[in-house]
Symmetry: C2
Subunit: 152 residues, 2 copies
DNA sequence: ACATTGTTATTGCAATTGCAACGACAAGAT
DNA sequence: ATCTTGTCGTTGCAATTGCAATAACAATGT
């Protein structure tokens, strides 16, 4: 899919390559700074956005776009590192809530300083404001369309 | 990074989420059709684009945006499946060339029919032509910028 | 109350990946 | 020719991931 004739397929091709290259660079930057991988950042960020810094595993998985079993292993390791804490859910005997710790918040802030620089250098630097806004709205449409299969 | 104030950071946030969701769906579609994973498609496509359907491992890894060791394992499995064939490189005693087989071409075509539908449904469907063109050029700039560190 | 069905989080296991180290060869200097 | 230095492709090993199966509980209907 290199000389794709259709502009939409062409856009997809660039999207795929850019994605691979950028994540590679970002992971390298985290590694060079002695910080954990991007997946941990995502978990920390989703938790920090949540009411009370806590979320049930199911919701955490969905919002971080990670498989159910994967979020279990991920939070296992993060709990060992003292970044999150798990506790039984009082409203649902099956459930578990995952809560951000102070240490988790601190690490996310530290990771963000590295992440932000990378996003700017590798991505934002090459976009005009109008372009960035267009990409936001377009991708938001795309994201919403994948979730439309349960509402109504 | 949800209510990101900066439009570029907002664009990045959507980019990350869309990427995860779309790849998840596409892999699921391949799996449901009894086809291999997307990584195999990428390798097949890069080879098919190459002169003579053959490429040295190093170039294959770079063009498919895969680590060196990973392309070795990937082509190991694909060779066992009869999709590619490896041979020593005549011009360089260290090198290995990886060549697409007829079976490999056939599988790529079959995978494309599934892949194409997914790209259209999940991605292209939600973009205007102007938007698609803008995304293509913007991401091309981004891709090019990551490679600029060796020329000159 | 009870049985049935669905959901939640976890785990075992196999498969995949990244990282560092390796052997084989090429390229350039002396 | 020899010696260093760098590159190519592969592999061992540890870590990570996906998939299917599981136990525990919720929700619904009878």
């Amino acid at each position: 899919m290199s000389p794709a004739p259709d502009p939409r397929q062409r856009a997809w091709a660039r999207f795929v390559v850019a994605q691979a290259l950028l994540f590679e660079r970002i992971e390298a930057a985290f590694g060079a700074a002695g910080l954990p991988e991007l997946a941990w950042y995502d978990i920390l960020w989703v938790l920090e956005c949540a009411e009370g810094g806590r979320l049930r595993m199911h919701d955490l998985a969905r919002q971080a776009v990670v498989s159910r079993s994967n979020v279990t292993r991920l939070t296992d390791r993060m709990e060992k590192a003292g970044l999150v804490a798990r506790a039984d859910c009082p409203e649902d005997g099956r459930g578990t809530v995952c809560e951000l710790t102070a240490r988790g918040r601190a690490l996310r802030a530290k990771m963000w300083s590295v992440y932000r620089k990378q996003i700017d250098t590798l991505f934002g630097q090459h976009l005009g404001v109008r372009e960035a806004e267009m990409i936001s709205t377009a991708f938001e449409r795309i994201i919403d369309s994948t979730n439309q299969r349960k509402s109504t």
